[in-house]
Assembly symmetry: C2
Homo-oligomer: 217 residues x 2
DNA sequence: TACACATTGTTAATAAATTCTCAAATATAA
DNA sequence: TTATATTTGAGAATTTATTAACAATGTGTA
């Protein structure tokens, strides 16, 4: 955990490399240089090389990078060469959107269960998985040793639910509730705060339209 | 646009400040010091002061910050003191989740239209708004002068759709498709790449479990 | 096989972001 | 009213991230 720490800035860029490499792979491209990748991705070649070097460097002088090899290595780094079990807590539209997104399955995220507190949803199915009452979550997570919980519930319920999940031995929470969770730091949390994202967009619209409403410095 | 540029790192933190200030406001807290806010938010007091100072500084020595005032100022900076019109392109679960999220409305994002290419959805309603055929999008966006388009469609369709939107005079795109859009830089784009976020989570799980699979340096 | 060329990995330089420090300003209590 | 305690805003110091430079190493060709 505490060895050669790699900054989250680097980690954040890996999925994007992975996406572009996947595209290249599909196109049948065998090799690529950092410069070529730089042109496609609009980041500096230097950054690409620096990023890969955090993990030892996967290229070869005079040749570049082998697309397939690099793709596989990144998938190992990201841990998507293994399967991860996942439950969705909150089977509303957002929960269903995520559950139904088949690409996640392709990346090894296996959707095992869905829970909600709305009785109307009990027994309805999302991709062969039955929606269960949320009280059954604890037993289910323990029994099947679920790794990841996707929290798509209102923020008021998110905090107590996170605590319950931690008690059941969950390893990670993908949090869509608009609240910061306070969990032990052996539990991984990744927040998706959609409203934050939308506000950023709003800022940039505003900024572009009224460039001169900045402080009098 | 090109005056006292504020870094996107700062902008990214504003919505979180805004969220915490909203909570404080609701609790009836009138004033707060950067140190108190630091304790609550788990960021350094110095960063809080530095961030606010980018916009001129809203506090007073010996007193701290007035919660209501600061809240209002941040909402102005973020441009959420004004209304923004918005259409959703792709009325699947994700599109519906976003359209249905009433908090956005509260923040001034007014949901005006929804479009899809699935005839089964035409005429169905999402919060009083009828789902229309996607061919009608262009006229609609032009006619009602829509500012923001939310792209919740598959990546193959996202790129041509973005081009169409730009032609219709859209100002900003909130992009949920797993692809990078290439639009003129007067168009604001905010990406929400969910699979990237999930991969980051996967990395951190992996990292925590196998701390020693780092390169031999 | 030998030589020119390409391209990485790595170190150094630069830029950006964060944290520290403290004088100046204000609030509050005596 | 004055003295003391707070707390900001701003500049300096530090840390982190990004970009540039180039020697080392391999590729591909004649």
């Amino acid at each position: 955990m505490a060895d050669k720490d790699i900054s989250q800035a680097v980690i954040s860029r890996l999925p994007r490399y992975f996406r572009y490499l996947g595209d290249l792979k599909e196109k049948g491209v065998e090799r690529i240089s950092s410069q070529e990748l730089s042109d496609i991705m609009k980041v500096t070649a230097s950054q690409i090389r620096q990023d890969f070097n955090n993990f030892g460097g996967f290229g070869q002088q005079g040749y570049g990078y082998n697309v397939n090899y690099l793709y596989d290595e990144i998938s190992k780094i990201l841990g998507i060469d293994k399967q991860h079990s996942l439950v969705i807590i909150g089977a509303g539209h957002l929960g269903q959107a995520i559950a139904g997104y088949t690409n996640f399955t392709r990346r090894g995220f296996v959707f095992k269960g869905a829970f909600d507190c709305n009785p109307d949803l009990y027994g309805t199915k999302i991709r062969d998985v039955e929606v269960r009452p949320v009280d059954e979550m604890e037993d289910f997570v323990r029994k099947y040793n679920i790794e990841i919980a996707v929290l798509t519930i209102p923020k008021e319920q998110a905090v107590p639910m996170a605590h319950k999940l931690v008690e059941c031995g969950i390893k990670a929470i993908w949090n869509f509730a608009h609240v910061d969770l306070d969990v032990p730091n052996n539990i991984q949390v990744e927040n998706v705060h959609l409203s934050d994202s939308l506000m950023k967009l709003s800022y940039n619209i505003n900024r572009y339209e009224n460039p001169n409403n900045s402080p009098s410095k």
